[in-house]
């Protein structure tokens, strides 16, 4: 029987990260989809950084930011009494930054696919920008929301480097599935490593299979 705690912790982390990113990523993605200024490229590059940056680099900078002597780290200790580094909230924050592009990019392209033409038509019928988003853009971007949420969830589930650096390996707090696998391999407990790795492998395949099936069945944002 495998230790369930890393599995539950991973699920909790992935769910929370997806939810937080939906709230933060949505306005960023919408702004990027309608933004025409040159600053757009700057923000787009910034948002996409975590895709190519080594997790250790992000982890290193976050570790410095989370340090109790830094402004952010000391602020967190003042209001919660706990350190940000090596805490569950610390790895949530790290995951939010690390998975940001996986939420923003699919949403942005879904919003862009709706097109300014349809938004103009809605505005000409006296729909305010918020009204246009809720009644026209969001329903036409259903697929984008689904893809973005699933990708974010799955990507967070597979995180390793950043969590190891920012969170360490504390059972029940920061020891998620990928860290547990690493530890099992280090201690030559291949049985346990097989179980957890197999679960992640099957899960990841199913997620991608679902996304591709869904995209094929609903090629257009119609009806």
């Amino acid at each position: 029987m495998p230790d369930l705690s890393p599995i539950l912790l991973s699920l909790k982390l992935a769910l929370l990260t997806s939810f937080v990113l939906l709230v933060i990523g949505l306005p960023i993605a919408y702004a990027l989809s309608i933004w025409k200024s040159k600053a757009k490229i700057f923000v787009e590059s910034l948002v996409s950084l975590p895709i190519i940056l080594p997790p250790t680099v992000i982890g290193f900078y976050l570790l410095i930011l989370f340090n109790p002597t830094s402004p952010i780290g000391s602020f967190w200790i003042n209001i919660t009494g706990e350190s940000l580094s090596f805490s569950f909230f610390g790895i949530v924050l790290a995951s939010v930054i690390y998975s940001l592009p996986f939420m923003v990019q699919p949403l942005q392209s879904a919003f862009e696919n709706v097109g300014f033409e349809i938004r103009e038509a809605a505005a000409s019928l006296r729909a305010s920008p918020l009204d246009v988003f809720i009644k026209i853009v969001a329903p036409l971007s259903k697929r984008g929301f689904l893809t973005a949420s699933i990708l974010t969830f799955a990507h967070t589930l597979g995180e390793f480097g950043i969590i190891l650096m920012v969170g360490g390996n504390i059972p029940g707090r920061t020891k998620v599935m990928s860290i547990a696998i690493y530890e099992h391999v280090e201690t030559l407990d291949y049985n346990q490593a097989h179980i957890l790795s197999g679960m992640l492998l099957v899960f990841s395949f199913c997620v991608l299979f679902l996304i591709y099936t869904f995209n094929r069945r609903h090629p257009l944002n119609v009806g």
Binding site: E120, A121, A123, L125, R126, A127, K135, L140, L220, G223
Partner: protein, 360 residues
């Protein structure tokens, strides 16, 4: 009652600069006519707030835009309706939901059932836009725009891409907008048939500038080859009067400037009614003596006032005058040479076919 629409705007658009200073009437249909790239659609975008002028003023009752006082009312707060080229129905809503979207946000209650029946949409209400034909899409889009209770309606080439028969079936619905719902329209097109059929006033636009503005009658003589787009055939336009009908052969006799033209067709209009005649430059042949024993019904005696020859092409344009009207024919350069055509020469123009656009 809505006020006139005052426009005084400047906007740089790539190669041309749009510079329009014009007050548009608050009744009937004002057509903005001009070749592609003259800035027609951009005017509508600027008026509706989808594009921002570099400077100037736009005003209808209230100020919509004023660069000096930094007023720029966003599109969704302007009391406009906008009918786009492709209809732009919301693809995730069915026809009825598309209509209700507009009705819910209208500044005053509009009669949904009356509008559905006016645009003959009863059988389409539960359909989604992806299954509608081009003509049906335009009708739904028109109805949707009317339901938003606009004080002025902008129509951007609303019939583009439809075949002639479809176009003719949609035009009465547009006429209805003005007659039944009393909404003034600004109508952008480069189709001469739509101008003749629908316009009360015409604004001629060329490279971003207003070349002329006036009633259709005043502008008509200027709608000649020079202003036409390449995809509109070269043609001469005349306003004429029906003088009699030949019911046996289904022909109408029309007086244009003293010359009588026989036009095939039956008109429901009475004698004495005005009618617009269009003669394509390619449908005219030229003879030096009045021909006899020929099937062509219309022959006009005229005097050549100009010949323009393009050595790159096999054709030449011959402009001739009869009464005080001008007509343009396109014949081959070889024809010009063999008949020895020159300015001042009297010719007989044989007109192979004539079309007419009635204006209600």
């Amino acid at each position: 009652m809505s006020d006139k629409l005052k426009i005084n705007i400047l906007k740089k658009l790539g190669r041309i600069t749009l510079n329009v200073n014009q007050t548009l009437p608050s009744k009937g249909i004002t057509v903005i006519f001009g070749p592609s790239g003259s800035g027609k659609t951009s005017i509508l975008k600027l008026l509706s707030g989808f594009m921002r002028p570099d400077s100037g003023i736009i005003q209808m009752n209230e100020l919509w835009y004023d660069s000096k006082n930094k007023v720029n009312v966003p599109a969704y707060k302007r009391p406009i309706g906008y009918m786009f080229q492709d209809g732009r129905l919301f693809p995730h809503l069915n026809v009825l939901q598309n209509l209700e979207f507009a009705k819910k946000r209208a500044s005053k209650a509009m009669p949904l059932d009356e509008i559905i029946s006016a645009f003959e949409l009863e059988s389409l209400l539960s359909e989604y836009p992806s299954v509608l034909s081009g003509g049906e899409t335009r009708r739904v889009a028109l109805a949707r725009t009317v339901l938003s209770a606009p004080e002025i309606l902008f129509l951007d080439e609303p019939l583009i891409g439809l075949d002639r028969a479809r176009k003719r079936s949609i035009i009465p619905f547009i006429e209805n907008l003005v007659k039944k719902f009393d909404i003034p329209c600004i109508y952008v097109t480069h189709d001469i048939e739509e101008v003749c059929r629908l316009a009360d006033h015409v604004m001629l636009l060329s490279s971003g500038r207003v070349k002329d503005f006036g009633s259709l009658d005043e502008i008509l003589p200027q709608l000649d080859v020079a202003t036409l787009d390449t995809d509109t055939k070269l043609s001469s336009l005349f306003s004429g009067m029906i003088i009699s009908q030949d019911k046996e052969f289904s022909m109408i006799n029309v007086d244009i400037g003293g010359a009588i033209i026989k036009v095939p067709g039956v008109s429901r209009r009475y004698s004495g009614k005005k009618i617009f005649i269009r003669i394509n430059a390619d449908d005219i042949s030229i003879a030096l003596v009045p021909p006899k024993k020929i099937s062509i019904q219309n022959c006009i005696e005229a005097m050549i006032v100009g010949i323009s020859v393009d050595v790159q092409s096999p054709y030449a344009l011959v402009k001739a005058r009869f009464s005080d009207l001008e007509i343009t024919a396109r014949i081959t350069r070889a024809g010009v040479k063999s008949l020895k055509l020159t300015e001042g020469k009297t010719i007989y123009m044989l007109i192979k076919s004539v079309s007419f656009d009635s204006h209600l």
